[in-house]
């Protein structure tokens, strides 16, 4: 019976496999949106740290995309750089670097992030660890001097002061010289919070502009691309633990890479748990490790290592918090 019409046109019942309604969302769309949500913070870092920041970000993004294409070509796989995931990794890696690093650092970092952490583990969706953070940790272990020389943001746009001024991060000052010394850099405690919020401090170039990061994060939350579970538990845990051990919780929340890490890297779909309850546990673990490193560890900041360590627990957490099915037989014989 060939009527020349397709079955559904002929009015025949046809059972197809779901999904039947597409939301129009896709991995590339989400990746590009997250990259766009980082743009205010990236822009602010270029405003604060100058054209060098822009160059570092561009080097990082271009080399990430190039390494992804190169590895996929060598492995004979489909080249999927247009999905934006390599670009996002490059952007996040660049934002995790101080603006003063030599230009070959973002290139080495993205090679480790893309080739070793992502592609050798099977590409997008199969990597165990957040690529950008492994790239950063690799650079931190290899070039500790470059990675802990922080530029201070210039106070205005004037180009009259070409020589960049280096200085410690607030957490570095806190660790080495104590809270009163840190406070003495600002007019008063309230001024300190405002300056930290606006990003008037030394630090990795993408982590300082908290207000811009929160703006981007709010957009992602509104779109539903990230949920509150991990970022809020992560940040709240750090604040509570810092307060319990006699620190300044507001300072803890506004310093270091906590906001950038909690909203943009501890929410990476691939490397964090999918179940909401597991995500709360993930955020809690990140917060505890971060607070431990900051308060007791040798490094001033621990967000990067906290997220990486919790990445290891992701499969375990997803399994541990799996909902019990109704009517499931007891395992006991």
């Amino acid at each position: 019976m060939d009527t020349g019409k397709k079955p559904q046109e002929a009015g025949l019942f046809r059972a197809s496999i779901g999904p039947h309604i597409s939301s129009g969302e896709s991995v590339p769309h989400i990746m590009w949106t997250v990259s766009a949500a980082l743009m205010p913070a990236a822009g602010l870092s270029i405003y604060y740290f100058g054209s060098r920041a822009l160059l570092i970000l561009v080097f990082s993004m271009v080399s990430s995309v190039a390494f992804e294409a190169l590895t996929q070509k060598l492995m004979g796989a489909k080249i999927t750089v247009s999905d934006g995931s390599a670009l996002l990794t490059g952007l996040l890696l660049g934002m995790n670097l101080p603006a003063s690093v030599p230009f070959y650092l973002p290139i080495i970092g993205s090679a480790v992030a893309i080739i070793i952490t992502k592609q050798l583990f099977g590409g997008l969706g199969y990597n165990i660890f957040n690529p950008a953070l492994i790239g950063r940790a690799f650079l931190m272990a290899s070039f500790p001097r470059f990675m802990t020389t922080w530029l201070l943001p210039r106070s205005s746009l004037s180009l009259a002061r070409p020589d960049a001024v280096t200085g410690a991060t607030p957490l570095g000052i806190l660790k080495e010289e104590g809270y009163p010394k840190l406070l003495s850099h600002f007019a008063n405690r309230h001024d300190m919070y405002v300056q930290l919020l606006l990003g008037h401090r030394g630090g990795a170039m993408g982590e300082t502009g908290i207000v811009a990061l929160l703006f981007g994060a709010a957009y992602l939350l509104y779109k539903g691309y990230i949920t509150w579970h991990i970022p809020v538990t992560f940040i709240a845990t750090v604040a509570v633990l810092t307060a319990v051990f006699g620190g300044d919780p507001w300072l803890a929340m506004l310093s270091g890479g906590l906001v950038l890490g909690a909203f943009f890297m501890a929410t990476d779909y691939v490397t964090v748990p999918q179940l909401k309850r597991a995500q709360v546990a993930f955020g809690l673990g990140c917060g505890i490790i971060t607070a431990l490193i900051r308060l007791e560890g040798g490094y001033p900041e621990g967000v990067c290592y906290a997220i990486l360590l919790m990445n290891c627990f992701t499969p375990l957490l997803d399994r541990a918090f799996k909902a019990k099915k109704f009517g499931e037989a007891s395992a006991k014989a």
Binding site: I108, I116, L120, A141, S142, F143
Partner: protein
């Protein structure tokens, strides 16, 4: 017969290389290979111990009750490790100071007991010696190779001769770098095997001390 001994020795170096193909004794391969020198010393110690253990186990294979064979092998291994350690302490104090602890750990290296169990306990003396010698050479070669890569990238030198002024990638002399280098070299070995010898993806698997 000569050809089969050659095959046994080459087997340990290439197709069943302890580190890159069998993935045994990865712990020392990561721990001591921060330089060519350290890798070489450890490799030579293991080469001597393995050859002697295989010979001894093979001689005694019909005298050891199978029920107590593992403790017996451990005693034999411990004997040769003690001799090696004492010789090292007597003739090379500096090397002993750096490597002493790891030399003692040779007693529990998985590769030695696995060759005693899998090969020497069921083969004649000369093939067992060839197997132990080949496996030891394979281990020595692997440690020197890993040490060379880590020393070159991590310290900018080869066997103590400086090539660059400063260290290019410090992470390579840290334990993390050991894992990176062994993983990548293992991948390279598998790739060569698949590409030129038609082998199937191997390696990996176990991984003990």
């Amino acid at each position: 017969m000569a050809a089969s001994y050659k095959k046994l020795i080459l087997n340990g170096i290439f197709s069943e290389n302890p580190v890159f193909r069998l993935a045994l004794s990865l712990c020392p391969a990561v721990a001591v290979t921060t330089s060519v020198r350290n890798g070489f010393l450890m490799g030579v110690a293991v080469l001597c111990v393995m050859t002697m253990v295989n010979i001894t186990v093979s001689i005694l294979r019909n005298l050891i009750n199978p029920k107590v064979r593992i403790p017996a092998y451990i005693l034999i291994i411990a004997t040769y490790v003690s001799i090696t350690e004492m010789m090292m302490r007597a003739y090379s104090r500096t090397a002993y100071k750096q490597m002493g602890l790891y030399i003692q750990l040779i007693v529990v290296f998985a590769i030695i007991i696995s060759r005693a169990e899998l090969f020497a306990s069921r083969n004649k003396v000369l093939p067992s010696a060839a197997d132990g010698f080949g496996m030891g050479l394979g281990f020595l070669g692997a440690l020197v190779l890993v040490g060379a890569v880590r020393e070159l990238i991590g310290k900018g030198s080869i066997a103590g001769f400086h090539i660059t002024a400063s260290s290019p990638l410090l992470i390579m002399v840290l334990p993390t770098g050991g894992f990176f280098v062994i993983g990548l070299l293992m991948g390279l070995f598998n790739w060569i095997d698949q590409r030129y010898y038609g082998g199937r993806p191997g390696g990996g698997g176990g991984g003990h001390h």
